[in-house]
């Protein structure tokens, strides 16, 4: 291990605190606690270590990927990685000190502006941990704002988001969840109408976990009529083609920001996007960056509205979130700026095209059909001729990850596979998937 201290540095430090040796400094720690052996292999040289890491990396299988389910494989332009890996941005922590962090704070401000433009909402925070956390924080805000205790969720909500909500709210027995059936792929309107009564919020997943786009206006109308807030969880990569949450009157909009230029990275670090109407500004969780003027009248960026936060408001804070995902937020900002509005539209169209082409070709296979006849973005449910998990496993042998089997989520969907095709899947990729499905379904 490299440490920058010389023997002489150590000697001076020991002398300054009045001990004669390092051993003497540790005298207070009982001997039996100091005998630890770490049982580590001997240290490697740098070339040995590089070779070892390359060997481990080679164990990864490079699958042709048709799995989505909340994390999506998109192309990341080289400019995104080049810009965000600049040393100035790679900071370990939220920059509190406005006098030392104008660049980072401005980047966060630009991120917030980007989110507001993309979602058509009034105010965004500096980002949260991931999409699931963002939804849990949105629900938390809705509970605080309305003073009510019931939360309405669609059955077709990402199961991981449901688990995160459980983690957040299971300790609070006053909070209850009502789940609205999605038998047709989208929420059952009559069931939603009943469930929304006395609810703090109605959660709209758009697209939902089945990839289906909901009738957002109808869900919004039902939520508002019942006096509940509308919380929309969206896919930001879809918003070039799918209406933004502000357009259907959502009170709070959240998203997993990973599709905006972040690597899949085995699940993280990801990006929780959170925005709301201005009237809910004081209930936003986490950091917010604002724009102001310094003493000389020059433009300056600062963290603002901090009286919501736990270091000031303590247990009455809007949330116990006190950090953000600054580098991931910057990545999403650079990605959106690089694509621009026209590029975001093109991205969404390419996804629509790839997914619809894949769906059409799979639907033409004997024994396969598209489960729901609803509009979808880049993901859809395929009903297979047999057990979807077995079929997925069979295709893995051909180097293809065909999708996510839904039997774990709902046993009645045992034969169903959630298939995703983003702009990264070429016609040849899709043909390879279709050929493999044909081969293994008949096997």
């Amino acid at each position: 291990m490299y440490t920058p201290h010389t023997d002489r540095d150590r000697e001076e430090m020991l002398k300054a605190i009045g001990v004669s040796s390092f051993e003497e400094l540790l005298r207070q720690i009982p001997q039996e606690l100091r005998k630890s052996k770490f049982n580590l292999p001997p240290a490697l040289t740098e070339p040995e270590l590089a070779a070892h890491a390359a060997e481990l990396a080679a164990k990864n299988s490079r699958l042709l990927n048709f799995a989505g389910g909340g994390a999506y494989e998109h192309y990341i332009p080289a400019a995104v990685r080049a810009l965000v890996s600049r040393g100035e941005f790679v900071t370990a922590y939220t920059p509190y000190q406005a006098e030392a962090s104008q660049g980072t704070l401005q980047a966060i401000y630009e991120y917030q502006s980007t989110v507001c433009a993309l979602f058509e909402m009034d105010a965004s925070n500096a980002s949260l941990y991931d999409g699931a956390t963002a939804l849990a924080e949105a629900v938390n805000a809705a509970l605080r704002i309305t003073g009510k205790t019931k939360v309405v969720l669609p059955q077709a909500l990402n199961p991981q988001y449901k688990r995160t909500l459980q983690t957040y709210f299971a300790p609070n027995s006053a909070v209850s969840f009502a789940e609205v059936s999605c038998k047709t792929g989208v929420q059952d309107v009559a069931a939603l109408e009943t469930a929304a009564q006395d609810a703090a919020c109605v959660v709209l997943a758009n697209p939902n976990y089945f990839g289906c786009l909901e009738d957002a206006d109808e869900v919004a109308r039902i939520a508002k009529a019942a006096g509940a807030l509308l919380v929309a969880a969206v896919n930001p990569a879809s918003l070039g083609a799918v209406r933004a949450p502000g357009g259907y009157n959502a009170d709070i909009a959240v998203a997993e920001g990973q599709p905006l230029g972040l690597a899949l990275g085995y699940g993280g670090p990801y990006l929780g996007m959170f925005a709301c109407k201005k009237e809910h500004l004081r209930h936003i969780p986490g950091r917010i960056c604002g724009i102001t003027k310094d003493l000389d009248g020059k433009r300056a960026f600062v963290l603002t509205l901090q009286a919501r936060e736990q270091h000031i408001r303590r247990e009455k804070a809007a949330s116990n979130i006190c950090s953000n995902e600054a580098l991931c937020a910057l990545t999403a900002t650079v990605y959106c700026a690089l694509l621009g509005p026209a590029g975001m539209r093109e991205l969404a169209e390419l996804n629509l095209e790839a997914a619809h082409s894949a769906a059409d070709k799979i639907a033409a296979l004997k024994g396969f059909k598209i489960k729901f006849g609803k509009p979808y973005f880049n993901e859809f449910v395929v009903e297979c001729p047999g057990d979807a998990a077995k079929l997925r496993d069979a295709l893995l042998q051909d180097g293809i990850l065909a999708g996510i089997p839904l039997g774990d989520m709902d046993p009645s969907l045992k034969n169903c596979l959630l298939v995703c095709a983003t702009e990264t899947r070429t016609p040849a990729d899709i043909d390879a998937l279709v050929a493999a499905l044909r081969k293994h379904a008949n096997a």
Partner: protein, 130 residues
């Protein structure tokens, strides 16, 4: 104006001005000085229940958030929308335009638990008490 001499006071620096079963409530001049520039108040909703000495509103200054405790128990009959729109009113006119809410008292006898003007003036002279 809800004349300070005619108000009753909590130990947490709220005043109550009772008239016909309804108490108008606000923060004292001493409190607004201590809190300094108030940038936001979160007022209770009409119809909300209050309990004497329990939080019913929140006051934010630039660097701190403080609770506003109800001086009496009852039900909120009115909230000062002008204060929500312009929180500085609580600094400029704590006993006037900066009032917080009106509470329909469920137990007017509770007013006897509060300090009168003279007692409150004595109270704020004792630095350790607040």
């Amino acid at each position: 104006m809800y004349k300070p001499e005619n108000c009753k006071y909590t130990k947490t620096h709220e005043w109550a001005f009772a008239e016909g079963g309804v108490a108008v409530a606000g923060i004292t001049d001493f409190a607004q000085h201590e809190i300094s520039d108030i940038v936001f108040v979160e007022l209770p909703k009409i119809g909300a229940k209050t309990e004497q000495n329990k939080r019913c509103a929140v006051i934010e200054s630039v660097k701190a958030a403080s609770d506003f405790n109800a001086p009496v128990s009852g039900e909120v009959a009115a909230a000062n929308d002008a204060l929500s729109a312009n929180p500085a009113l609580a600094n400029q006119s704590p006993h006037g335009d900066g009032w917080f809410c009106k509470i329909k008292m469920s137990n007017p006898g509770e007013l006897d638990n509060l300090m009168d003007y003279a007692a409150y003036q004595e109270f704020i002279k004792q630095p350790a008490q607040h």
